[in-house]
């Protein structure tokens, strides 16, 4: 490692640790690198802006954000919840199951865990608390855990970011996430059923069966959305970026014409509130583009690969090693930072060890999503705390069982690559 690169890393770590925004820390670190190397400092801006300008796939990021925000601003979430209550709400621990199932359905329309927690998650937490069967901490913890499914079942912003740094197909990555996402839902529902049984949670008043057709009809346009998206992408009709725009347009049409729940004023607010996260995520992507340029010119990834291949690391050992490291990093770092900055370091090793990059991508994205709920730094815990005012300590007390359940699902996914690769291969993936 050269002096310039050491100084670059030192600058980034020190600045980020004292609270400088991650994107600015990376920009400053890169400028330090270029300065020490005696290269043109304009290179930093050039890598950032031309990198963003050249990546067509990145357009999916703002479009997925718009789609999720339109759905949250309209009554789509309420109708979906009514449908879930009518179908899975009748069992013991019913509202907990409603929480997970609605998160799974919603994840088929939105690509961001934070949007899921802030949107449908907020509504379901209210329902669980009002029923009197669940503590606020439990409702919040289950919601945080089920929101991590959002970016695993397509569409997914983190997978778009992974596709950018690994040059893999977004379509296959999206397909690869479906079964793992359902597996996460199953383990969470299992934990919830166990909780309901142990604490003898009472049943809710179940919706009469004859009302199910009506509730389903009301939720039908929303339920159709994941189908349209998946059919669009895998029928070869639209690219994932186009699917993002179609999803947003579809959400807008049903919100305005069918549910009549979106005013001009709230549409304006949706656009402002979509511009903000687009800018902050875009800036971190830009920072990662310079950093990845530096990492590539220093040959860091190849050095790591040669070192690991030199000591004959078995692929499975490598997978477990990387995943343990990522879980630890997930406690303190943001998911997009890990995906854009840390994961590229390991991609050359994967190629040398013969580890499939779709499998590696889906597993590590699941890992970083678990990182969203691991204290002390878990963005989903903060978001839910901010919107529901349930104290962080109460949420964190209840979150551990769900973290354990999701880590269990992660281990299963690492041990059995078929879970991830089965669907992509069914659709012609050759890896």
């Amino acid at each position: 490692m050269t002096l310039a690169f050491s100084l670059c890393l030192l600058t980034i770590f020190v600045l980020a640790a004292i609270g400088t925004p991650v994107a600015y820390s990376i920009i400053v670190g890169s400028l330090v690198y270029l300065g020490v190397k005696g290269q043109d400092v304009a290179m930093a801006g050039e890598q950032m802006i031309s990198g963003l300008f050249d990546s067509f796939v990145l357009l999916a990021v703002p479009l997925f954000i718009v789609a999720a925000n339109i759905m949250n601003a309209s009554a789509v979430s309420e109708r979906l919840l009514k449908f879930c209550v009518a179908t899975v709400g009748r069992f013991r621990g019913g509202l907990g199951h409603v929480n997970v199932v609605s998160a799974i359905i919603f994840s088929g329309m939105s690509g961001s865990a934070v949007a899921d927690a802030a949107g449908i998650g907020r509504v379901v937490i209210d329902m669980m608390r009002k029923s009197g069967h669940y503590s606020g901490g439990y409702a919040a913890a289950l919601t945080a855990a089920s929101a991590t499914i959002g970016p695993i079942i397509p569409p997914s912003i983190p997978m778009v970011l992974y596709a950018l740094v690994s040059n893999t197909s977004i379509g296959y990555l999206f397909l690869g996430g479906i079964v793992p996402g359902l597996l996460m839902g199953v383990v969470l529902m299992f934990m919830n059923a166990y909780y309901a049984w142990k604490n003898n949670v009472g049943r809710e008043e179940s919706v009469p069966l004859r009302e199910i057709p009506k509730v389903t009809m009301q939720a039908f346009p929303a339920l159709l959305m994941p189908v349209i998206l998946l059919y669009g992408i895998y029928g070869g009709i639209a690219t994932p970026t186009e699917a993002a725009a179609i999803a947003a347009a579809y959400a807008l049409v049903i919100a305005v014409f069918l549910y009549r729940s979106l005013s001009v004023k709230s549409f304006y607010e949706v656009m402002v509130e979509s511009a903000r996260p687009s800018a902050s995520v875009g800036l971190v992507i830009g920072g990662a583009l310079i950093l990845n340029y530096i990492v590539a010119s220093e040959n860091i990834g190849t050095t790591i690969a040669n070192a690991l291949v030199g000591i004959h690391v078995a692929p499975l050992t490598f997978m477990f090693g990387v995943n343990i490291l990522l879980l630890i990093l997930g406690c303190i770092l943001d998911a997009s930072t890990i995906i854009l900055v840390i994961l590229p370091l390991f991609i050359p090793t994967c190629q040398q060890l013969g580890i499939d990059l779709i499998y590696f991508g889906v597993v590590t994205v699941v890992n970083t999503m678990i990182g969203l709920i691991t204290p002390p730094y878990g963005i989903l815990l903060f978001v839910i705390n901010a919107i529901t005012r349930i104290p962080l300590a109460e949420i964190i007390r209840e979150i551990w069982v769900f973290i354990a359940a999701l880590v269990f699902a992660l281990v299963i996914m690492i041990l059995f690559p078929e879970i991830t690769l089965w669907l992509p291969q069914l659709f012609g993936y050759a890896g």
Binding site: V22, A23, V28, A42, F53, L59, P62, L63, A275
Partner: protein
């Protein structure tokens, strides 16, 4: 003064919302031209990409509040006010200093791009990329303002949450 700043911020938000809507609409137009008219426009994709880089850098410069940024603030929030002020000062000096240092070379590069035109809309690349020097100047200015506030008023009432950077 505060009213004026608030008006500016509202204007910046309106412009960002407009660009976001335009990006969305242009993208839909592109899909329409490709699948319905069977004759893709071409210029729509480029306009989308221009809007995207503008949303990122214009947005980062003018509408992001400090809590909107992806930040690792565990340590920052855990320490007492004294060290926190020192940390905030170091951040602000580092960001403002290095950004200003890169400004002239960056400007040279961007202004040189006036001779290069974009592929389909034939706009000089300088006019597209100019948002980056604009971002550099705005963020550096916001951090210099923050240094002044930190030195004169301290950390408590530094308007941290409303800060442009």
């Amino acid at each position: 003064m505060n009213r004026f700043v608030m008006r500016l911020r509202q204007a910046a938000e309106a412009l960002s919302a407009f660009m976001m809507t335009a990006l969305f609409a242009t993208f839909l137009l592109q899909i329409f031209s490709r699948y319905v008219m069977d004759e893709p426009f071409g210029w729509t994709l480029e306009l989308c990409l221009i809007l995207w880089v503008w949303i990122v850098f214009f947005g980062a410069a003018f509408i992001l509040r400090s809590e909107d940024h992806i930040t690792f603030d565990l340590l920052y929030l855990a320490v007492p006010v004294g060290p926190r002020r020192v940390m905030a000062l170091i951040s602000a000096v580092a960001v403002a200093g290095t950004l200003l240092w890169s400004l002239l070379p960056t400007w040279d590069w961007v202004s040189f791009l006036r001779i290069k035109k974009s592929a389909t809309l034939h706009i000089p690349m300088r006019d597209i990329y100019i948002v980056y020097p604009l971002f550099v100047v705005a963020v550096a200015a916001a951090y210099i303002w923050r240094i002044w506030v930190l030195l004169h008023k301290g950390i408590e009432d530094d308007g941290h949450k409303e800060d442009a950077a």
